[in-house]
Amino acid sequence: MSIEITGVNKRFGDFVALADIDLNIPTGQLTALLGPSGGGKTTLLRIIAGLEETDTGQIVIEGQDATRLPVQKRNVGFVFQHYAAFKHLSVARNIAFGLEIRKRPADEINRKVGELLDLVHLRQFAHRLPSQLSGGQRQRMALARALAIEPTVLLLDEPFGALDAKVRKELRDWLRRLHDEVHVTTVFVTHDQEEALEVADSIVVINEGRIEQIGTPDELYDAPASDFVLSFLGPVTKLGDRLIRPHDIEITRYEQAATASGPITRWTRVGFEIRLEVTPDDVLHPDPVQVTVTRAEATALGLHLGDRVWLRPAIGAEQVKA
């Protein structure tokens, strides 16, 4: 186990940021700390890094007790949401910073910085200042800077949070490929479930200072431990007395054995997808049910706003009792 966290508590005044956190993060994996804002995930990451002190408990990194070790001695690479680029230093000098501090010989620094510039595709920008780079380029520079010190663990705090959607997606793919090349134990914080599901080997869901569930993306998605995890990992709706994902509902215009039936009362088209709301006739469960179908399915089924439809869970759909 690369990072072992036991009994960690953290308060900020009256606010409980973390409550009794026990967590093992395996070596060489890409782990996501996923949860809503203010849930404590960034605090946990900063405690691992040594940027924040824990009130109680222990942090062990690669077998070494790091609980009271200052941030300089932990040998962790930390990447900030807003890059924290050294504004007065060129891209190459930014990357070289950790090596210069470690007083490595100049030729070794040059070689290493060159390699990292290639790794993050910033070779032609080596002599620019951070202010002359785009957000995505700055974050790649920050990653290279953190990797330069050959950290035991790489910690990323909402690394793509400040970037626009398209760049975020590119960098997400790139981070996954980078990790497959470098294999450094990586922990990243995100509130974006899609990002966590797509990139991470394992996901730790954190809410209100507590761990809700730990598992692979598939485990979490297929077997959520609580309705919080279910609802956080994607849209959910209530069909009968169970929670289910809107795209896991079978919809038809012909009368059949169904969990609910009623008219389509809302129709929202978003690109290839159509989001419907069906208001059931059932007096016990009168809340509208969300159903998602593709445009092609809607055409094939001949659905229109106001049509009477019958709903039931699709075969193999994951459901949680509400």
Partner: protein, 275 residues
Amino acid sequence: MAESHVTRHARGPVTYLIRVFAIGYLLLLVAWPVALVVTHTFDDGLHSLRAVFSDPDTVHALQLSVIAAIVATAINTVFGVGMSLLLVRSEFWGKRLLSALLDLPLSVSPIVVGLALVLVYGGRDGWFGPTLDGWGIHVIFSTPGIILATAFVSLPLVIREVVPTLREIGIEQEQAALSLGASTWQTFWRITLPSIRWAVVYGVVLTLARSLGEFGAVKVVSGNVLGQTRTATLAVEEKYLNFEADVAYAIAFLLASVSVVAIAIVSFLRSRKAH
């Protein structure tokens, strides 16, 4: 983009009236009097400037002013940067009180500052004065007193420049440096100081200009001894009262030129900082 939000109204007679008033006010209050100092200095060519530099006592006064200003500025720069770091980067009890106290030197009359220093460091009946005198350190009526008074008066100028800049750059660059293994000291020299360097330079220039022109506090603590503790500003007063107006104008001109150069440097730095 701020400029694009400024709406321009048609220029009516009121606009012109306000402009004429503002320019006229500045002209009468600042530009004209200062210009007169310059013209008076050069009334008979370089004669009065030569008189300044040929009188050893006046030269000494100028030197003393420059030394006091440089030392006071050096002290206030080190103290100011340290104090700014303390105010921005740490939380402690009484921080707001300290912050208010730091502005005191700008609001209190320099003459009060001078008297206060005498009460503490006075050789015969000050609080510390006799003890320091016993060790052979004379503060009042001596150069240390002049430096102390000058430093007191120009104390907040560096802090006022550096604090907003420190707030603006935030703490993340420093935390990044720490996570990369830098010590607190290395982080300060390699990251913090380069980030605030223009603010420091700006504060230093202002402090230097203010220190050079200090009069009231210095007058009280220096004793105004000719050729020993008389600074340039005191010499201006002395010469003026002794009917050597041309020499007084010449010294005043030298002091004013330094200030003008300082303002020029500062506005140049400001325009650099803006880009």
